[in-house]
Amino acid sequence: MNPLIDNLGLVLEALGTTLLMAVVAGVGSIVLGVLVTVARVSPIRALRVAAFGYVQFFINVPLLALLLLAVFALPDAGLMLPLTPTAIIVLIVYEAAYVAEAVRSGVNTVAVGQLEASRALGLTLAQSLRLVVLPQALRAVVQPIGNVMIALAMNTALAAAVGVVELTAAVNKINLVAAQPILIFSSAGVIYMGIALAIGLAAGRVERKVAIVR
């Protein structure tokens, strides 16, 4: 009945690619985003400027443009990676900017006294950030980071434009034959909604678990 069910194998395989991209890029962007935030609050001016520039650049350049650049311009510079890894890397560096913005807002919620207390105890700046500031900052921004992860999962669809056979590409392909766009894309939309919902619920759980009582 539903063409997506008739093509279940293709859909599941493509969904697997979508989830793989979302998970790998999600983890990668959180790690990179935190590092960018660290650079942004570091005492080294050059690092701060670089991190600020990084965030501004990636927040202001469309993801599709970055994907096209990475897929079509890098080979001209002599660097040709397979498509899916390329898309994942682009998603990581792109979403890391949004993660960094979220984490920075979390850092701002951590009272200066926390940093002063840890420095006064003899922790180095790196230790203070790692053990005191970032754990608190991250706990404060679980939901915003969850939202970035939802956006990331949705943004994996753009990889369809550069040849990655993820869910959207597979669904397009199925519709090409079945020609029932409303049914097919609604169904795909429901799958994406499911992914978003799962991330949102997970973020909610994590948030409740790690929330700091003040």
Binding site: A111, Q114, A117, P135, R139
Partner: protein, 242 residues
């Protein structure tokens, strides 16, 4: 143990510390008093370089204060500090607050760190709160936890910046008692406080600051009974009148 020589500090135009000279001997308890805004906190914070100074020299245990970096961290490890607002790590239990620095800075094995932390918490009377988060403690308990946290580093000197000012009156005593017992055990202490009773009871010396200057240094009895300066007299008159 701690010596300041000709220390000047500005916040922009504002001259907050004006050529401060102060020496604190080992095991000495120095209480710093003075009107609000006189520079007491700044003095205290400059000793472990939470504030940098613009001129002069500060030595701790004979060593000049290092500039940023690992050497400064090592010095801070030897100088305990207790803040007005406690500043306990909000995401860690009381026990973890106390063990964090010994484990990560002193590299004390976790088991030993925990054992020593429990001893300290017991000593400040909150061993039963070890597993609680700071927010679950009263102000007095939090401040005692903060003192235990600082002591866990076995500091050579302890700095207290108005440790009881944020407390409800009924909790002030429990914190001052801990501090008094520390003093009695021979800890070198610099205490900024408005608690004149504590100053009289526990201090070896009282330092009176006003407008960024040390106006008077004297033994507590002498300072409280016969202040040498007009400014100290009017300050005492105002704090003791209520």
């Amino acid at each position: 143990m701690v010596s300041l020589r000709g220390v000047d500090k500005y916040f922009g135009e504002l001259h907050v510390l004006k050529h401060i000279d102060l020496t604190v001997q080992a095991s000495e308890v120095v209480v710093v008093v003075g009107p609000s805004g006189s520079g007491k906190s700044t003095l205290c914070r400059s000793i472990n370089r939470l504030e940098s100074i613009d001129a002069g020299e500060i030595r701790v245990d004979g060593e000049p204060l290092p500039v940023e970096g690992p050497a400064l961290a090592a010095l801070r490890a030897d100088v305990g500090m207790v803040f007005q607002s406690f500043n306990l790590f909000a995401h860690r239990t009381v026990l973890e607050n106390v063990t964090l620095a010994p484990i990560n800075v002193r590299r004390v094995p976790k088991v030993d760190a925990r054992r020593e932390a429990m001893e300290l918490l017991d000593r400040v009377g909150i061993a039963d709160k070890a597993g609680h988060l700071p927010a679950q403690l009263s102000g007095g308990q939090q401040q005692r936890a903060a003192i235990a946290r600082a002591l866990a580093m076995r500091p050579k000197v302890m700095l207290f910046d108005e440790p009881t000012s944020a407390l409800d009156p009924e909790m002030v005593g429990e914190v001052l008692d801990v501090m008094a017992s520390l003093a009695a055990e021979g800890m070198t202490m610099i205490v900024v406080t408005h608690e004149m009773g504590f100053a009289r009871r526990a201090a070896d010396r009282v330092v009176f600051m006003d407008q960024g200057q040390i106006v008077e240094e004297a033994a507590p009895d002498q300072f409280f009974d016969a202040p040498g300066s007009e400014r100290a007299r009017s300050f005492l008159a105002s704090v003791l009148s209520h």
